[in-house]
Symmetry: C2
Subunit: 210 residues, 2 copies
């Protein structure tokens, strides 16, 4: 096993280093975020840093890169307070990844990558029609992360669209049965296979530790 210090990593070529560090934190929640601007122009972009914050209230966060690198989703969320997060499945993972390209602001990425925008009731932000598990959020707060000019965007879940047959008897969602993918680094996507559910763990003090 090799010991790699941050001083060594700092000497590495920029893209090599970015790939490496991006993989280190493990599997991530690849999802598409749908928004509209004040004029109703849709925007779609892939995000990998979705993070569960709490279930009561139902709060989910995501990390937005610095504004210079990724301005459109965040400015739309600021303008409308609304966004959707859509799971990614194998049938459209290539289109989902293509939405990471830097399209000009006037381009509708739904059209550019050939995914269908789906509007439900009075929810302003578009869902991805092709996604089997998707949810709408209402912006709560944009927390600036001063260390690197990224943002933690915090939202309340307001609406969920999914096939109810995915829900198991204790509320667990079998997202793998919908084909939801996970990702690593900036461009690798994975399918998954559940190996265990352990239930709620209670302390067991084993003999050796006494």
């Amino acid at each position: 096993m090799q010991h790699i210090s941050i001083d060594t990593i700092k000497t590495w070529e920029r893209f090599y280093r970015a790939n490496f560090i991006n993989c280190l934190s493990g599997f991530k929640s690849a999802s598409l975020i749908g928004t509209v601007n004040e004029d109703g122009q849709p925007n779609l972009a892939v995000f990998s840093s979705i993070v569960h914050l709490g279930s009561d209230p139902a709060l989910i966060g995501f990390i937005n890169r610095p504004l210079a690198a990724a301005p459109h989703t965040l400015s739309n969320i600021k303008a409308t307070g609304a966004y959707t997060i859509n799971h990614i499945h194998p049938s459209f993972v290539n289109k989902a990844h293509q939405s990471s390209a830097k399209y000009p602001v006037e381009i509708n990425e739904f059209e550019a990558v050939s995914l269908e925008a789906q509007y439900i009731n009075s929810i302003k932000a578009p869902f991805v029609k092709e996604s089997f598990i998707k949810y709408a959020l209402e912006l709560s707060e944009i927390v600036p992360i001063k260390q690197n000019n990224t943002f933690l965007v915090i939202g309340y879940v307001t609406d969920i669209l999914m096939d109810a047959s995915l829900i198991e008897e204790d509320g667990f969602i079998a997202i793998e049965n919908a084909g939801t993918m996970t990702c690593v680094g900036v461009d690798a996507y994975y399918k998954t296979e559940r190996t265990a559910r352990f239930g709620y763990a209670k302390p067991i003090v084993n003999k050796e530790s006494k």
Copy 2:
């Protein structure tokens, strides 16, 4: 496809609702966080909300639950500024999950769940010897999330321990070859299979959108 509103979810039984919302955000980065208190007493706990914040500088965050629910890891990090994050593999996933039990503060979870603490050079926090990919961090900031009394803990990566053969030629780490697992909800663990790496996406405006 069913439309479930948050007003419906609020009427659900507490644990059913928690399981459901916890699954919604998708696959998560199951990892073990190792710390010590001021007296050198080790602590080990499983966390699922590790989040990549940036690669230059190498910044990784994790979500810590409210202090009443999960005090030990956070108080140790505050006291020492040091912690390790360790990937979880099938050979010890049951032990990793068991570390989520609420052990009294005087219990060393490494011993309680039969995992080995590994100390390297002058790094205060213990690694999990059984883990094939693990890294040490230095605390930068603990950001309170006022909506639900959780915390975003931000740290700088300082040291990495892993088998260098996992690193591909562009810096990508084949974490699936180390057997790194991903998780969903509060207790489900998954193995993975890579299906694609797409590379850096550039805008392609297709014919239909013109």
